[in-house]
Structure formats: C-alpha cells, structure tokens
Symmetry: D3
C-alpha cells in the first residue's frame, strides 16, 4: 500500500504548492500519458518535496531558479511562481531571485522569466 | 568615487562568500582579462549580492542551483559550495538542494554536482 | 552530378519521413535562405539519413530524443513526431520514448514534448 | 556622478543599437523590475558595449550568435537583429551568420533563428 | 513491501545494463547522498526501465542520445555506452547513433561523445 | 568528382584555419568514425566556410561565440581560438569577444572560455 500512500501524499503536496495546477496538469496528461502525472505526484511531489532538510520556501526558490536557468519552461515557471507565492515567498523575494541569476545566466533568460513573473503577479491580484 | 566603492564593497562581499576564491579568481584573470575580475567584483558581488530582499543563504542556494542546472560549471560550483558553507548553509541543506533538482534536470547534472560537493566537503574537513 | 543526386535522394527521404513538412520547410526557407533548405535535404536527409547501420525507426527515435533534450524545438518535434508515425513507430513507442527521458532531463522538457505529441496524435487521427 | 554617466551613455548606446527596443524594454520592466532595466543600460550597453577592441558590427554579430546558440531567445533576437541592421550589417551578413552556425549547433536552432530573421527583415521593409 | 521490490528490481536491471557501474555508482554515492543511489535504482532502473513499450536496445539508444545532446555527461555516457553493448547494440549502431545527431546538435557534441565511445570500445576489447 | 572537390577544398580551408588541428582531428577520428572527419571537411569547412558573405575573421568570431555559449567545448574552442589567430584576429579582439558575451550568458561560461584562451595564447607564444 506504500505506493498508494506516495500518490496520496504527493497529491496533497501539489495541492499545497499550486492547487489550480494540480488539476490542470492531471487533466492535460490524462489522455496522452497518465503515468507521467502519477510520477510527478509520487516521485516529484512525494519522494522529493516531502523530504526534510529544506523548507518549502527554499524548495520553491530552487525550483524557479532551475526552471529559469534551463529556459523554454514558461509553463512550468507559471506553476511554480504561483507555488512560490502559495508557500509564502514574497513578490520581492521572487523578483530578487530572478535578478540574482543575471551574473550566472545573463540577461535573456532573466528577462524571459520576468515576463512570466509579471503575468503571474497580475493574475494573483485578481 | 562611487565606482571605486562598488569595487571595494564587491571585494568585501567575495571575501565573505569565499576568501580563498577571491584571491585565486583575481590571480587567474590578472594577465588575460583583469577587467573581468573587476566586473565580477563590481557587478556580481556588489551590484547583485549587496541588494536587499534575499539573505546570503538564499543567494548562495540560488547560485548553486543555477550552476548545477547549466552544467559544465565544476570550477564555479567549487567556489559557491564553499560559499554556501561560509554563509551558514549546512551540508544537509546543500545536498538536499542538489536532490531537489532531480525532477527538474534529471540525474546526470545532479550526479555531476554531487561529485563536486563530495570534494568540497572533504576539503572543508581538513 | 553527384551533388544533384544528393539533393534528389534527400528530397525522396524527407518525402518518406514527412511529406507535408517537406513542402512547408522548403516554402518557409524559400525567400530567406534557400541554401539552408538545400543543406537539409543534401546533408541531413541524404548524407545522414541514407546511411546504413540504423533503421529509419531507430533514426527517428534518436531524432525526437535529441529534439526533446535540447528544448525550444516544438516546430522540429512536430515534423519528426509525424516522421516517427510515418516510418512505423507506434504511438505507444513515441510516448514511451518521452517517458524514458525523464531520469535524464527531468519533467519540464518531457512535459513540453508531450504537449506537442498530443497535438500531433490528434491531427493524425483526422 | 559616474554612476549616472553610465546610465546616460548606456541609454545612448541602446538608442543607437535599437531605438524602438530601448523604449519597449524600459516600459516592460518598469513595474516589475526597474533595476533590471537600469542594469541593462549601465552594465550591458555602457560597461560592455562602450569598450574598445571590437566594432559595433562585430559586437552585434557576436550577440546574435550567442542568442541563436542558447535558444529560447526569440524576443532578444528580434531586438538585436534590428541592432545588426542599425549598426550597418547587411541582410546577407546576418543570414550568413545564422548559416555559419549550422555545423556548431545543428539545424533546429538555426531554423528557429531564421524564422525571426524573416519577420525582422519583413518589418524593416515597411 | 512494494517499495523494496522496486529497489530489488531496479538493482537487477542496472546489473543487466552495466554491472560494473552498478557497484561504482553505489559506492560513490554511499557517503554523500545514499538516497540518490536508491532513487536511481527505484525510479530510473525500476519505474522507467522496467516499463513495457520499448526494448532495452531502444531504451539505451534513447539514453545515449539524450546524454550526447545535453553535454557535460562523459561519466554517464561511459556507463550507458557499456549499457548499449551489454543489451546487444553493435558498435556500428552506437557510432551511427552519434553520427545521426550531427544535423540536430552540430559537430562539437558529437565529437565529445565519440571521444568517450572510443575509450569505451577500447576498454571493452580488453 | 564534385564530391572529392568538396573534400579537397575543405581540407585546404581547415589547413588555413588550424593546420595542426587538421592533422589531429583526422587522426583521432580515423579508427572510430572516419566518415565524421570527412563530413567536417566537406560540410563544415567546404560547404559552410567557403561561402561568400562573411570574412574568415567574422566566421571565426561567430564560431568561438557559439562554442563559448553552448559550453562543454574546451577542445573545440582550442582549435578555433588558434583559428582566430591564424585568420588575423588580434588577441585583444578574442578577449573582447569573450567579454562581450557576459551579458548574454553570464560569467561562468565566459570564465571557462577565458581559461582556454589563456592556454592557447601561452602556447602560441612558444
């Protein structure tokens, strides 16, 4: 039954990080690759996110940095920028995290990320 | 004089993050591109690192995540893994940050980073 | 005349891999860089694809893996996902290939690819 | 006052490279991260672009190559393809620069860049 | 107990793909991050590699393509080039897979991979 | 016979860009993948380098920028930094090209490139 517990706990964690994304990610993968949705919940949001050693705020900061750095991740950034806000990071911390990356990745990737940040902040105000 | 202040403050910041690296980075760039050493101090370690909004621990966590994610950065990781320890992150937090990246970048980049982490932790014990 | 044979054979190969793309790639490059269209046919689809040692199914599997891994390649993935189907790979094999990449590149790039896979499969049903 | 001079000179340089972009970049960053706009002007367009040792034509050639190579940079390419034209590179030189990258990065990134090149050349004809 | 079964089956799979690597990967992660070794076995070599839909030969072909494409993966390539041979791919197929990537990633990454291929083939002859 | 002319002209071009590399690249590929050596000569150094529209100096500037930007290319950079010097670019232009990339790729990739630049300049003085 441990397997199912991984799924249940992973779902609860994704709900906490970004409840809206939880539903839309599941829905979009439903027909094409439902097992990937399961792996995201069991592996990413249970096995990884539930580990001790880092706070959820630290985890989300790491996540958006990795997404910003690899590029071509606007969709995933959208989920985790909401995640950042949901676990209690401030808008200022999020923007600063992007700015902090400039010396490591250059301006283009940071500008791409800030474009998504701007959308997410605008949506979260509604 | 503001320009010189940027350099002085940047030097102090790099000293704080990694005193040993401060000297070796300067030395290695001295003959080939001394202006780059100056930019690292003035722009990266003054203009960016001195900003408010994130703690030095958060900044170093972001830095190693960005380096791990882009790959081919063993030398820079070495500097900033020492930086992580110097600003007060625990060994556990550093290893957890690497593990947290697995769902976002896959195992190869995380294994590469952990190889450097292992070296740095071994050296820091001496 | 060998040169022209490379072009003729490359065209035939691209027709076989993705007939529709063959026309649209040519058309889109026609005004801006017709030589690039020629190189794609002569070099990629003749010199490389016509080599022995791998089946066309293996070649298309390698192609979509490389495109998925480098990111920012939705347009090229579209062509070669159709190519996969045209050379006889099953939908299951294509989705499995994407899933197999998760431990090597992480979820974001796989999710990006699956979004294109879903579109291509939907279009191919029409 | 040196600081302000960096900003003034950086603004003048960006005006020269791409006057239209100068305004739109400033505007888009205005609410979310005005300091990043300042860094682009002071660091990128003053500290870097104003250096001696390379002509502006060489600098823009380097810029579009770096953007093409890293991928996911259509927005930045748009600015700097206009920049290429504004500092006197010919359309032929720009297309050739993209073609020259094929052996180093493969076709997909070059095709992505040529799509933007085509748009920019069409717009510049109006 | 399912959890342990994942570990047991993952170990058996890695043994089959590359028995020597199985031991050295475990050993190298033992002190620094033993949980990562466990995840590699449970997630990568059980959850992913044990799936139906692709042969082990197809899986290893995909793996080396993804490693070649992302770069900075000489250590991982070494493991999976041996894996390719162990699951029955021929030396010719492996070299062809590298060559097939040239139009997609350019020559540098393919040359880097071929350097490792050459070492692995030389070692496997001993 | 056109095919052979491509090979002959490509060889002459690589001789001109970097005579020493011409021999060592051929030698290293001789046993593992001789066709790749042929493609480098015919496609890269004939079909691409022999095109009109850019000077050899512009081509080598583009080449090192693309190599610096993609990372994990120290071996190829070594060849083309020598190539830069051989086609008449000055040491100052080469270092400036690296510095110019800082705003686009960040410091780590530029520092990696400068390490190779330093070696190549030291060797060229002997």
């Amino acid at each position: 039954m441990e397997h199912n517990q991984r799924l249940i706990d992973g779902k609860a964690m994704l709900q906490r990080v970004d409840a809206e994304a939880a539903d839309s990610v599941m829905a979009s993968l439903h027909t094409i690759a439902p097992d990937v949705a399961k792996m995201i919940l069991e592996f990413a949001f249970n096995d990884i996110y539930m580990r001790s050693g880092l706070s959820l705020q630290q985890r989300e900061l790491i996540t958006i940095t990795s997404l910003l750095t690899q590029g071509d991740t606007a969709d995933q950034l959208r989920v985790h920028l909401n995640g950042c806000l949901n676990v209690g990071l401030s808008q200022k911390e999020i923007v600063e995290a992007c700015i902090h990356c400039i010396p490591y990745v250059g301006f283009p990737k940071v500008l791409n990320a800030l474009t998504v940040v701007k959308e997410v902040f605008a949506d979260s105000q509604k």
